[in-house]
């Protein structure tokens, strides 16, 4: 029952993503062809031809229907700048982003939760003050600026552009090492910002639990303080924290866009940047639908995970 509701909700969200993607770029004022070709020498005939090519000359409802049906087939239209299907362009860039975002999220979650637990348990200690202070400051730091700063400070220590060098030996190990070397700065940037948020979330979540009466029960039973924390407080506090971590996956996505732009990391974020400087509306629309869809799916996963972890929610 609950499971069906979750899937239904996610499906509805995906549909809303699709609708949003369509209307954001059609109904909003301005002719897409005019703005895409702005500043270029284009005649009225060429514009009309483009309009016909993209189907923009047909009635809105017809356009919407074509859009929806092709979306279901995985067809996201044709990119204006790349002159290739949007879906293909996007697919090419998924790998690097998954690598970057995956690495950063994993490190940030582990580090952030650990810092948060420690800070909360020793509330008002030096450790807590430093962690909270640094986290708050990092939260205030624009991701892209941190990236530029790291790039300038480290100088030539790490490569700062792209994902691999052209002259690296083709064997797997050298390639992997090269990618890893390129990965250091972008992932460090992303980890710093995201991890701060997670640490703050985990800290306040555990502080919420600190006054729970069941902790007194555990202490009365004769448990050592660290067992009270590990066995009783943390499992309860981690659940809402993990849910929040997944909920704020959108934050990581946002961070990835600027980080990839700064480091020219050839992923979806950089593609976003390219698409908006065009501007390439069909590419942008495709990216919006794909990233928003991915976030909706992540959210569904978080929900399901929560159901498995928290006995109070129950799976079915």
């Amino acid at each position: 029952m609950r499971l069906a509701g979750r899937f239904g909700g996610a499906a509805l969200s995906l549909l809303m993503v699709a609708v949003l993607g369509f209307f954001l770029f059609r109904v909003v004022p301005g002719d897409p062809v005019v703005s895409m070709t702005r500043g270029r020498p284009v005649t009225a005939e060429m514009q009309a031809a483009l309009r016909a090519q993209f189907g923009l000359d047909r009635p809105l409802h017809e356009q919407f229907w074509t859009y929806l049906t092709s979306l279901l087939r995985g067809d996201l239209g044709t990119s204006f700048t790349f002159r290739r299907p949007v879906a293909e362009v996007i697919l090419d860039r998924v790998g690097p982003t998954v690598l970057l975002v995956g690495t950063a999220t994993l490190i940030a979650v582990l580090l952030g939760l650990w810092l948060g637990v420690r800070a909360a348990w020793r509330r008002d200690s030096a450790f807590d003050r430093v962690t909270t202070g640094v986290s708050l400051t990092l939260w205030a730091v624009p991701t892209f600026w941190l990236g530029m700063l790291l790039m300038m400070v480290t100088g030539d220590l790490f490569p700062s552009r792209g994902m691999r060098d052209t002259d690296t030996a083709p064997d797997l190990l050298s390639q992997a090492l090269d990618v890893g070397h390129h990965l250091v700065l972008p992932s460090l940037t992303l980890v710093a910002v995201v991890c701060a948020e997670y640490a703050l979330v985990m800290r306040s979540s555990l502080l919420e639990e600190m006054h729970a009466p069941y902790l007194t029960t555990a202490r009365a039973k004769g448990l050592r303080d660290d067992l009270v924390r590990r066995r009783h407080a943390v499992p309860n506090a981690v659940l809402p924290a993990i849910t929040l971590v997944f909920l704020r996956f959108g934050l990581v996505v946002a961070g990835a866009i600027t980080t990839e732009t700064v480091f020219s990391w050839p992923g979806l974020g950089l593609l976003f940047h390219d698409a908006l400087t065009g501007p390439d509306y069909f590419l942008l629309q495709g990216l919006l639908v794909v990233t928003a869809g991915a976030v909706v799916v992540m959210n569904l996963l978080a929900d399901l995970l929560h159901g498995v972890l928290d006995p109070r929610v129950g799976v079915v």
Binding site: Y214, T217, A218, A220, K221, G222, L223, R224, H232, P311
Partner: protein, 507 residues
């Protein structure tokens, strides 16, 4: 076995326990009574040194001759639960929500190396053994409290401290849990220190009783003697709050002769989804009559009151007020609500913490656009609710008032509209015992002076005996018995009424 010598506890500059000395021998049962803020729970927590760090403790707490305050952490941990265990108040929050209860019972056994099995413990507290795999939220309140008791017995302690073990429970379940505790204490020859605000609960379980007030011990003795001949006025006030059903001395009013009907409820049905909360209720309240509606929690009595007020729509049935059927339109309901007022259980939450007494009382006047001098009307209502002089209270915020004063403000807020009927939902249940009597007396006085009728919704049969003219007993959405107080409470005709009466702990 347990000895408290001159125990004094401070929180900052606030002294919450002052110079308390007590002792408890093995096999002895001692009840510690007191109102909220009397320091009784602090005493309980000091036994195992569980007070927060901000607490400053002076005096001695000797457990088997050893001072708890002087123990090393290791020794203290060894003593906790093995020598003395605690049944905490509110089992709902005192059990860890994400661990299975069997695991939670087994945890101290593993920790202290006690042999034994969870299933045996569950049998002792009369729970089926498969409940060990349940999570706390899957159990009822009574079952959770049984789990707490099983957990307390896990390491075979000689002393059990029970801190308000039955407070959140329904009367019938409370009686079951108390019976269980009494049996286990006798069988296992345990020492029991039971803390409660409810003298009748302590009288049911403890041989000795000690009464605390404002952090000090004011009286101690054999339970029977203390209750029969209280020496301290505070003890007397506490005893008076628990009337003996059937004792004419505890009847505060004479039943009125059958008056003209004011409110009639006809065949009222309320459904919550698929469950039927109120199932074909007929009820009549006469002018100036006090009718008590009694029953366990979940019997539908609160839903019935809300539906009469129009706060929830009935599935079918009629409400007739003063000979006219109350319509469903918002205008009709609004007019009806000038005549009928609601008094809720917990006055501290029934008042908006940001509104002054004046605002709270004048709220009804504003809502109905009553013309005239609001200040004069509010002052009159506040004084009628016996907050005198009103000028002292009008600018106060709710948190600056005591529970009893807050309830008077709620009543004044009802009186200001000059209603003809009060629906009082457990009006004294959350008040301290000594204040309770004053509010009950106020309700009676309002009836005498204003001819105000009341529908008193309560789980407390003693309260019904004290002031009601008639009693209606509700069970599973139906009224199973109704009639004059004497008839229903003294010669009950329905099995359920008899069961309820049996569950009332007698002082």
């Amino acid at each position: 076995m347990l000895e408290l010598n001159n125990l004094t506890v401070h929180y900052g500059h606030k002294r919450v326990v002052h110079d308390v000395s007590l002792s408890l021998a093995p096999g002895q049962t001692l009840g510690l009574a007191g109102e909220s803020g009397s320091g009784k729970s602090t005493v309980a927590m000091s036994v195992l040194r569980l007070l927060p760090r901000s607490a400053r403790v002076e005096g001695e707490v000797l457990l088997d001759g050893e001072d708890v305050a002087a123990m090393s952490w290791g020794r203290l941990r060894a003593v906790r639960w093995a020598s003395a265990s605690i049944v905490f108040q509110g089992a709902m929050h005192s059990l860890n929500p994400v661990h299975r209860v069997g695991e939670q019972i087994a945890e101290p056994m593993r920790l202290h190396g006690t042999p034994g099995r969870v299933t045996e413990l569950l049998e002792q507290v009369e729970l089926p053994r498969d409940k060990a795999r349940a999570y706390p939220h899957e159990l009822s309140g009574g079952q959770k409290q049984r789990v707490m008791i099983a957990m307390a017995l896990a390491c075979g302690p000689r002393l059990v401290v029970a801190d308000e073990p039955t407070t959140a429970l329904d009367v019938v379940v409370q009686e079951q849990v108390l019976a269980l505790m009494t049996r286990l204490v006798a069988e296992q020859d345990l020492g029991l220190l039971m803390i409660s605000h409810d003298l009748s609960v302590l009288a049911r379980t403890c041989e000795d009783i000690a009464v605390m007030q404002g952090g000090e011990l004011v009286e101690r003795g054999r339970t029977r003697e203390v209750i029969a001949n209280p020496r301290h006025p505070h003890t007397a006030a506490l005893t008076a709050a628990f009337p003996v059903i059937g004792d004419p001395a505890h009847r505060w009013s004479d039943p009125a002769p059958a008056p003209e009907p004011l409110l009639r409820v006809r065949d009222l049905v309320v459904d919550y989804g698929r469950t039927r909360a109120v199932d074909g209720v007929d009820l009549t309240i006469g002018r100036g009559e006090i009718v008590a509606l009694v029953g366990q929690s979940g019997s539908g009595k609160t839903t019935l009151a809300r539906t009469i007020m129009g706060l929830r729509a009935p599935s079918s049935g009629r409400v007739i007020f003063d000979g006219v059927e109350v319509g469903r339109g918002s205008r009709a309901i609004k007019a009806f609500r000038r005549q009928v007022q609601l008094v809720l259980q917990d006055p501290s939450s029934a008042l908006n913490p940001r509104h002054t007494v004046f605002d709270a009382v004048a709220e009804g006047l504003r809502v109905h656009g009553v013309p005239g001098d609001h200040e004069a009307l509010v002052t009159a209502a506040v004084e009628r609710a016996e907050l005198r002089p009103a000028s002292l209270y009008l600018d106060a915020l709710p948190h600056e008032l005591s529970g009893g004063q807050q309830q008077r403000v709620v009543i004044a807020g009802a009186l200001v509209l000059q209603p003809r009927l009060l629906l009082a939902d457990e009006p004294v249940a959350s008040l301290d015992a000594s204040v309770r009597g004053e509010i009950v007396a106020l309700l009676l006085r309002l009836r005498a002076e204003l001819g105000l009728a009341s529908l008193l919704i309560t789980h407390d049969l003693g309260l019904a005996w004290q002031i009601a003219d008639r009693v209606a007993v509700m069970h599973q959405g139906k009224i199973v018995e109704q009639g004059p107080v004497g008839q229903v409470l003294l010669t009950p005709s329905h099995d359920y009424t008899r069961a309820l009466l049996r569950a009332v702990p007698q002082v």
